[in-house]
Symmetry: C2
Subunit: 318 residues, 2 copies
């Protein structure tokens, strides 16, 4: 278990990636309440909003109001998503978002074609433009994501060599603009990963790029998010995107089948039990998970929020 990190960073995605999947509008003050509860639990980064077209994603139309209303806790990073320059400039204009430059390539050509109409080459070209924009805005770039890294509903399996190639490609693109990538986030966008493929992909990336930290973005559509996270920990991944209570699934999962992200509090408990520091107060996080359930008004998939934490059980015995 030599590669298991002593300390990890948990990037909370619930208020952004989770709420984005919700069919109903969510009041700004409820979003803010959850974001504040998550920050109070000790999470170091909370993704708060998407600065995207409100006609396409109405639930994110109040991105500006959301980030403006947050009572900020010192030391916490309040991040956001944007998909184009307009979104980035909206986020910057708030003065309330911890702007982090982020580059992104995919490993599946078919997914990119379907999703954006681009080729992988065109997607790479776009990253040059992003680097210029970030430079113009004074935003440093330290990390990049590789999407559809473990497989793709449209392409099927994705070769590990393609993931390694794309990591090298984005690293070189960043370098050509004078930026040095510090970490890469490997995303199982369509929930194709298994513990074995997680190990193999991370192993191959680390072998080739030992200087890069490894993050994982996992979904639980096929029930393997936690097993994949564990496999990632075993391979030294030390940054994990998660959603409180497992938010992010389709509320009509019985029919449509999209499950949420790796559940924050379940993952934090697993880490806590294995002696891996996350800096999070698990009981406060569980309260935040219950708040998330109240906000969306239905049961969410998180397990520890129902079954109770082991530290809680130990304490009650004393």
């Amino acid at each position: 278990m030599g590669d298991i990190p002593a300390r990890i960073r948990v990037i909370e995605m619930g208020p952004r990636e989770g709420f984005q999947m919700e069919p109903a509008m969510i009041a700004t003050e409820r979003k803010v309440e959850l974001i504040e509860a998550l920050a109070e639990s000790g999470l170091g980064t909370v993704e708060c909003a998407s600065f995207v077209n409100p006609k396409v994603v109405p639930v994110m139309a109040d991105a500006e109001q959301t980030v403006a209303a947050i009572r900020r806790k010192p030391g916490v990073r309040y991040t956001a998503l944007w998909l184009n320059e307009r979104g980035l400039r909206r986020a910057i204009a708030t003065g309330k978002v911890d702007i982090q430059g982020f580059l992104a390539l995919n490993a599946s050509e078919a997914f990119v074609a379907r999703n954006t109409g681009m080729t992988l080459d065109k997607e790479a070209d776009e990253q040059h433009r992003w680097l210029e924009t970030y430079k113009e805005c004074g935003v440093p770039v330290e990390s990049a994501g590789i999407g559809s890294a473990f497989g793709c509903n449209f392409q099927g399996d994705v070769p590990i060599s393609k993931v390694v190639e794309q990591v090298g490609r984005i690293r070189d693109i960043a370098a050509s603009h004078g930026e040095t990538l510090k970490r890469v986030n490997i995303a199982d966008t369509m929930s194709w990963g298994t513990p074995q493929s997680v190990k193999r992909v991370i192993g191959a990336v680390r072998e080739r790029f030992p200087e890069l930290g490894i993050g994982l973005h996992l979904h639980n559509t096929r029930g393997m998010a936690m097993a994949n996270a564990y496999a990632g920990l075993e391979m030294g991944a030390d940054e994990f995107d998660t959603s409180v209570a497992g938010l992010g699934g389709c509320p009509f999962a019985g029919h449509k089948g999209a499950a949420g992200n790796l559940c924050t509090e379940d993952f934090v408990m697993m880490c806590e039990e294995m002696g891996i520091q996350s800096g999070v107060d698990l009981e406060r996080l569980i309260e935040a998970a219950r708040l998330a359930e109240r906000i969306v008004g239905r049961n969410l998939p998180g397990a520890v929020m129902k079954g109770g934490s082991l530290s809680g059980l130990r304490n009650r015995r004393q």
Copy 2:
């Protein structure tokens, strides 16, 4: 990944351990329908009923009728649970149950005291009586279970040395009656296991008793069942108790919090994707999981039955 087995056995617990948790009665013919669908999917062992006091577990009052009605598929073992000699004799009398002698100790003294009013010593004494009874009935004994092996709601953490001690104890008890144990089933009765403790416990047991095969009985109360199963596979465990669709949870999980067993089809898919043979036809198994949902009349926690199997996605692309 050297210890990962090439082939595993999946022991289906849904019709017994799963249905036993159901608050409502389930018609015998519906149970039989599910048992037959599970056997048709390629599962080699299906636990069909509990021969227990019908006043205590009314949903199992039709144990005799259930096993009598099954249209048996050659090669499949149709097993059952009993908790006392009367139950064993009822199961034998049907002539329809594949009787397997089974011994059981726990690793948590507090759990045994709470659950049965016995001490661990008394529980061990009982196993001598079971061995005599099995001999009298002509039933061979090849395996034993160690319950509450990873922790206990009443005792807290359980030392690994205690699990190893109990494995040795039950092996010696069996040997004193001329029986040679071939495998031990390590049960995470109260869902305290983590991938790390699963590895440590199995490692310690295998180190001391290399001749014993290792089975795991896992629950998902804290969201770690699949990660724990993966950790078990990494340590060479090759027999897993599972429940179709993740049956076995409390239907009021939002309040009471008991989640079900490791989900059969999610686990089978993980194994299939990692090249581990289980002999199961995943698509037929998913159909059985959907049948289980129709029978209990509510959503069950299985993920692959909603998200679709990867082999299914690959096939649809062709």
